[in-house]
């Protein structure tokens, strides 16, 4: 029998994998994809808990997370293209214009 704990532990594994990617990678697009991975891990636990509690609210939140992720993809990728046009790179080590 699969309990809600199985899904939550899987979600924790995926979330920490995404954290590892955000902390160690230097390519901005790969960091972006790792953030998508973390968002999806949270979505999985939302849906598992929503099913476990017999409630619809968690699935509605997943809907909004997807809407925010789509908006983030549009703006973030436009930012990366604009940055690449100016600096010819998107390595985050080289992006230090705002460094004090």
């Amino acid at each position: 029998m699969i309990t809600v704990g199985h899904y939550l532990v899987l979600s924790a594994i995926l979330f920490s994998l995404g954290t590892f990617g955000v902390l160690t990678r230097r390519n901005a697009i790969v960091i972006f994809m790792c953030i998508e991975l973390m968002l999806n891990a949270v979505n999985l636990s939302f849906i598992a808990l929503s099913r476990h509690l017999g409630n619809m609210d968690g699935q509605i939140f997943v809907f909004f997370v997807m809407a925010v992720a789509a908006a983030e993809a549009a703006v973030g990728l436009a930012l990366m293209i604009a940055f690449f046009r100016n600096k010819e790179t998107i390595e985050v080590d080289d992006i230090n214009l705002l460094k004090w």
Partner: protein, 166 residues
Amino acid sequence: MQVLFFYLVALVAVLSGLIVVTAKSPVNSALALVNTFFCLAVFYVMLSAPFMAAIQVMVYAGAIMVLILFVIMLLNMGVEPYKKPTHVAWGTIGSALVFLVSVFFIQRGEPTRAVGEITRDVVLRQGHTELIGKAMFVDFLLPFEIASILLLVAIVGAVILAKKEV
């Protein structure tokens, strides 16, 4: 049987996630991420949320990943050159900490009884899409409208950012 299937799909999801964070080329990362999204869609079907699985495949694996792949191809980046070992070690420590804390809280909480009325039978009888629609347009109407304004602002922002001279 069901448990075996769960572990199989979970294994594929975790391995694809590992490829996402370790692959040298961003294209390989993106393809592995699509694989993870499909595995999560399988889990949504197992949790009797088929509409969410459909959205997962269409919005995430379809729209967002196509956008990301398009930008990767457009920018034409190479592989990442060199990673400092201390950097990787600190990242491992940080993510392991996140994992341990979340597992601690998962183990600590006790599963309660179901309090809502949406059971598997109700979903099968009424249909998941109808239940989602009812919840979205009755209880969550204001957040829905705010989400549409958010998407409009994102479109305008992307157009302004992508113009030639800012």
